[in-house]
C-alpha cells in the first residue's frame, strides 16, 4: 500500500487525497516535516534528554532491554514542548480530532536492535482504556510520531492494520506469532524528519528491530481537552508556567474541559518562536 506522501498545497490543511486516505486507512505519513536544521535541533534536544534520563534512574519511563521510553518528554527541553504545536502537523491532527484538541501523553521511544516482540503486541490505544465510546464512529485519540532516525521496514517500524479503526469495538484481534506476520500489516518505514499519525482506534504494533540501527521516535498523543492526561503526564508547574498561549494551555489540559472557547491555531507556536 502506498502512502499519500506528497505535501498538500497548503501544508496546514489536509489535501482531499490525504483526507480520503485518512478516512479509509486511519493513518497518514508526512515525509520531511522536520527540515535538516530543525531535525538537528530536535535531535540535540532529545539527545540531552536521553543523557539526563540515563543519568538519573529516578526519572520516569520504561527501562527494559528491548525498549526504552522516556515519559513526559516535553518536560526536558523547550524545543520538545514546541514540537507539540508543530505547524505542519498539529493543524492536520486538529482537523481530524476537532478544535478542542489536547495532549494525553508524550514520550521518547528508543528501540535498540535485537529485541524480540511477539504477536500479542497488536492493540488499539482506546478500545479497552476509553470505555463508553462507540469507537468505530468516533475519533478519541490521534498519536503523532516523529522519526529522529531513518526507520527501515525491519528496523522496528510501527506496524498498522489499515482500516481497522472502523471495526466494531468487540472485533477479535487475530493471533499471530510475530507482529510482522499479521496479514495486511503495513510497516511505517520512513526517513528521519518524517512524521506519521494514526487514529487511536487503529490496530497497531511495534515491529521487531532486526536492523543494526537504534530506532528513535518522539511521540505526542492527542485527545480532547475534556479527557484526562495519562498518569504521570500532567504538566509540572514549570511546564505549565511556560504555556503562555491559549493553545499551549489547552494542550496541557489547563483550560475548562467542557465549555469555553477552543484555542485557535497561531503562528506563535512555531518551533523557535519563543512561545515556550
Amino acid at each position: 500500500m502506498s502512502h499519500p506522501g506528497e505535501p498538500a498545497s497548503d501544508a496546514s490543511r489536509l489535501s482531499a487525497k490525504q483526507r480520503r486516505f485518512w478516512d479509509e486507512n486511519g493513518y497518514l505519513v508526512l515525509p520531511g516535516v522536520l527540515p535538516p536544521a530543525e531535525l538537528a535541533a530536535v535531535r540535540r534536544a532529545a539527545g540531552e534528554a536521553e543523557a539526563r534520563w540515563r543519568a538519573d534512574p529516578a526519572l520516569p519511563g520504561t527501562r527494559i532491554p528491548e525498549f526504552e521510553e522516556i515519559s513526559a518528554i516535553m518536560e526536558y527541553h523547550p524545543l520538545l514542548f514546541d514540537l507539540a504545536e508543530h505547524p505542519r502537523v498539529l493543524p492536520l491532527i486538529r482537523e481530524v480530532l476537532g478544535p478542542g484538541i489536547a495532549l494525553i501523553d508524550h514520550a521518547f521511544y528508543i528501540t535498540p536492535p535485537g529485541g524480540v516482540i511477539d504477536g500479542t503486541a497488536w492493540h488499539t490505544d482506546v478500545r479497552t482504556r476509553v470505555r463508553g465510546i462507540h469507537h468505530a464512529g468516533s475519533t478519541m485519540m490521534v498519536r503523532a510520531m516523529y522519526a529522529l532516525t531513518d526507520i527501515a521496514a525491519d528496523g522496528g517500524a510501527t506496524l498498522v492494520l489499515p482500516g481497522t479503526h472502523r471495526q466494531p469495538d468487540d472485533s477479535a484481534i487475530p493471533a499471530v506469532a510475530m507482529p510482522e506476520l499479521m496479514p495486511g500489516a503495513v510497516p511505517l518505514a520512513c526517513a528521519a524528519g518524517s512524521a506519521y499519525f494514526f487514529n487511536g482506534n487503529l490496530l497497531h504494533s511495534p515491529g521487531n528491530n532486526r536492523s543494526s540501527v537504534t530506532r528513535r521516535v518522539l511521540l505526542y498523543n492527542y485527545g480532547h481537552k475534556w479527557m484526562r492526561m495519562w498518569q504521570g503526564h500532567g504538566p509540572s508547574p514549570r511546564l505549565a508556567a511556560a504555556a503562555r498561549t491559549p493553545m499551549r494551555r489547552q494542550l496541557l489540559g489547563l483550560t475548562p474541559p467542557y465549555r469555553g472557547p477552543d484555542a485557535e491555531l497561531t503562528a506563535a507556536g512555531q518551533p523557535g518562536s519563543g512561545a515556550s
Binding site: 480530532l97 476537532g98 478544535p99 478542542g100 482504556r129 476509553v130 470505555r131 463508553g132 465510546i133 462507540h134 468505530a136 464512529g137 468516533s138 475519533t139 478519541m140 480532547h224 481537552k225 475534556w226 479527557m227 484526562r228 492526561m229 495519562w230 498518569q231 489540559g253 475548562p256 474541559p257 467542557y258
Partner: protein, 256 residues
Amino acid sequence: MTDAAPSAEQKLFFAAQGYLVVPGALAAAELAAVHRAAAAAEARWRADPSLPGVRRPDLEQVLGIMEYDPVLFDLIEQPRIFPLVRELLGADVMMLDHDYFMTPPGATIPQGWHFDLDLPGVDHPRSRLMVKVFYVLSDIPPGGGATLVLPGSHRTPGGTKLSNSEVPEDLPGAVPMALPAGSAYLINDRTYHSAGNNRSSVWRRLLIYTYGHKWMRMWDEYRPSPELAARAATPHRRQLLGLTDPYGPPVAWEPA
C-alpha cells in the same frame, strides 16, 4: 424495594428512552437523614457567600455538595441507584460533578432546553458518556419546576439543533419529572432536557450527582478537597473522586 442489580426492564427503558425513574430510591429514614444534611449544607452556604455556587433569583446551586456532609458523600454509592449507574456506564465510573439545586416559586426558565454534552469527535448516539442522577428531596407537584425530558432524544447525532420553546413545558413530547420526595431519576448525557417553570408555592429541591468515566476530566471546581479525598476510604471511592489512574484497569466495587 430491596438492594438489587438493575432489572433488564430498567436497562432497556433507559437505553430506549434516555431516562429512568426510580420511585422510593430513598427510604423514609434515609430521606430524613439526607434532608437534615442538605439543610445543614444550605445554612452553611447561605451564611458564607464565599462558598461556591449560583445565587440567582431563579436558581440557587450549592456547588460540590459532597464536601458538606458525610451523608451526602455516601450518597455517591447509594445502594438502590449506584448499581444501576455502574451497570449503565461500566466499571470505570467516576464522578464529574455534584450539586444541590434549589428552585424558588416563581422561577421561569425561558428557552431552557439543552443537551449536557455535544462533543466533536464522539459518535454520540452510540456512546454513553454520562449518567446524571437527581434525588428529589421535596415533593415536586405538577407545575413545580419539574425537570422536563424529551424521551428518545439521546439518539440525536452530535451537532443537531433541536427546537426550543419560550415556556419549557410547551415543547411537544416533554415529560415532566413531577415526583414525590425520595424518588430518583436518571438521564443520559444526550437526553434533551430543561428545568420547568416553578408555578407552585413550594421550592424544588434536588441533589444532582453526575457520573462519567474515569478517563474524563472532572470540572475543575469539583476536584475533591484534601478533606474529602482523605475520607475516600476505599479504592472505589478514590476512583469515584478521580484519584486513580485514568487509563488503568478499573477497581472492583464491594457494595457496603
